[in-house]
């Protein structure tokens, strides 16, 4: 193991050089680690954002039935989905709202009037545009969720609730359009629609306050056979997945025409900045690796003369080549490994600050419009993962080996005579 001893002597004798190398290594490793941490954090945040923000695809078409919406909703790229089945219904035991403004042309009670309540059969009311955009807000209880599928529950508007003294937990009775069927509905939530009452006379079923949300099944029971889906919204992870969904929709809906609309504005506003930070982090890592290799390469070039003489001399003594490379490797590793350890400490701090500065800033700058509460991505979590440290150690050692051993091998390919007797 005499080459290890030589490495030790060499490092000790070249204290200044060793210290400078260590310093450069610590900086490179710290920046690398910071880059990796930022990359990891943005990747996690991007995944989170894809899940919570996502891209909403709105599908409309004659052939679209609740069953087809369910099948499409079970595609792997769909995180959440919501079909909407609008029906009209009457009310038993509660008073639907009526326009304050007198009806022009007087009361034409003889004419066939639609039922006063506008019911929407839904699966996941959080995906409804007015709710996700924030113009509708739940003020009590909760919205309609996939778990409500088989239940007879309803979410009612605040104005209807206050007129009739309804609270969460009360039961109302809805009457089917043909008047044959009554379905009891338990109020699970009360929401407020920011739309004011119209200033002109409006039929009751078009008043914002008369809109109720119920599970799809309940709506079907009130409108047997005839109901068509108005549309279905599918939340997918990224705009790129929309194409797959489109193909799937085409397959399921057959040849009939359908309308497929992708709303990726929220995604672009919130996910793209995170992706940009991720790209930036990747670029940083690459640049640092390159710059590090260049700097170390330069340092090595400067001492190559010294190395050359040393290698020649050791070769003339008949030292084995692998031991010479071994010595260089030990010298480099003895600097690189403590540098990785120091970088693990420094990287933690650097990454946290960089992350706060970059991602935290993007987050607040890119939310011009309100989102539902679950759409806010968490602040990035940065922890030094063993895998990150492993990568840093790998790259650090890689850089140092490439910049030290490769020129060494170049020298070793020469005959010792040309190393030792060529004066220049």
């Amino acid at each position: 193991m005499n080459f290890v001893k030589r490495a030790g002597l060499s490092l000790r004798a070249r204290k200044v050089r060793t210290a400078v190398l260590l310093g450069i290594f610590v900086v490179i490793c710290t920046l690398l680690l910071g880059g990796f941490l930022l990359q990891g954090a943005t990747a996690r945040q991007e995944a989170d954002a894809q899940r919570t923000i996502g891209v909403d695809v709105t599908l409309k078409g004659k052939a679209l039935t609740p069953a087809l919406a369910d099948r499409l909703g079970s595609s792997p790229q769909v995180h959440r989905y919501n079909p909407r089945l609008p029906i009209e219904a009457g009310a038993r035991g509660i008073e639907p709202l009526e326009s304050d403004v007198p009806r022009p042309g007087g009361d034409r009670s003889g004419a066939k009037t639609p039922r006063p309540l506008a019911l929407n059969g839904v699966r996941d009311s959080g995906l409804l545009l007015p709710f996700s955009y924030g113009s509708n807000k739940i003020t009590a209880g909760r919205g309609i969720t996939p778990e409500d599928a088989g239940r007879r529950v309803a979410m009612v508007e605040k104005r209807l609730a206050s007129t009739n003294g309804l609270k969460v937990g009360d039961t109302i009775r809805a009457l089917s359009a043909d008047g044959k069927n009554t379905v009891p509905l338990t109020v699970v939530g009360i929401y407020r629609d920011a739309t004011p009452d119209p200033t002109r006379w409006t039929p009751p079923h078009l008043l914002p306050g008369n809109t109720l949300y119920v599970p799809v099944r309940a709506a079907q029971q009130l409108s047997p056979g005839t109901a068509d889906l108005a549309e279905a919204v599918f939340r997918i992870g990224s705009p790129e997945q929309a194409e797959q969904l489109h193909a799937e929709a085409r397959r399921l809906l057959g040849t009939g025409p359908f309308d497929f609309r992708v709303n990726d504005k929220a995604y672009k506003d919130q996910v793209r900045p995170i992706q940009r930070v991720g790209t930036f982090a990747r670029l940083i890592v690459q640049l640092i690796a390159l710059a590090g290799a260049l700097i170390l390469g330069l340092i090595v070039m400067l001492q190559i003369r010294e190395r050359r003489d040393e290698l020649g001399m050791l070769l003339s003594l008949g030292e084995k080549k692998w031991k010479l490379i071994g010595q260089h490797t030990v010298e480099v590793a003895a600097v690189a490994l403590p540098a990785v350890a120091l970088a693990a400490l420094a990287g933690q701090i650097a990454a946290q600050q960089a992350g706060d500065a970059l991602l935290g800033h993007q987050e607040s700058a890119s939310s011009p419009r309100p989102r539902s509460p679950d759409a806010v991505a968490d602040s990035p979590e940065m922890r030094v993962q063993p895998s990150d440290l492993g990568k840093v150690a790998g790259i650090g050692l890689g850089i140092s080996l490439v910049s030290t051993v490769v020129p060494g091998i170049g020298i070793l390919r020469l005959h010792p005579r040309s190393i030792l007797t060529d004066s220049e």
């Binding site: 004798a13 050791l314 007797t421």
Partner: protein, 234 residues
Amino acid sequence: MTTATDTATEPPPVLRLDGVSHTYIGQRRRTTVLKNIDYSFRRGTFYTVLGPSGSGKTTLLSLASGLDAPTRGTISFNGQDLTKLGLGRYRNKHAATIFQHYNLLTYMTALQNVTTAMEITGVKPGSGGRRARALELLERVGLDKHMATRNVMRLSGGQQQRVAITRALACDVDILFADEPTGNLDEDTAQGIIDTFRELAHEQDKCVVVVTHSQRLAAQSDRVLTLRKGKLTE
């Protein structure tokens, strides 16, 4: 021309050059430095090689010491072709060289330079250990313990040269090559070195080959060879 009586009285050759030629191939032209040299070096003999500058003395030495292979011809050690024996192994076990430019490991003390060479060439530690042996050899060329434990870069040129010589001596080899070893030394020190070479040849039965410009050194050697126009003559 060697005669039958020569081979009978003299010891067998330890190193043989057979039709050795060496050509440097430059970018524009080829320089043939050595032309078809035949020569046998024997144990227990102190050789000096004289010749004008540029005549190929260093080249000859580097081929004979296994630092390079000749472009033509064979060099054999104890009857075995060096290329078959392995140049690295030959350098490691059988030959030691002191260069024109003393190539010491600059990050070590004189003592460490010597012991490192002993480790690499696998010299047995002996009774007192390598360190004691190295100190004794350094003492013999006039470097005391104080100087021996100093970094070699803080020694004078002559002192460094003596470390290089000691290093070659310490590696218990069969043939010792030296390229102008006394060029930087004062007369007394140079004489000490020459005495050491003679002692090595005569008392330890080594083959010592020294390239020099010094007639004084040559006069004290057993055989004086002259290299001129690519030919080696006695």
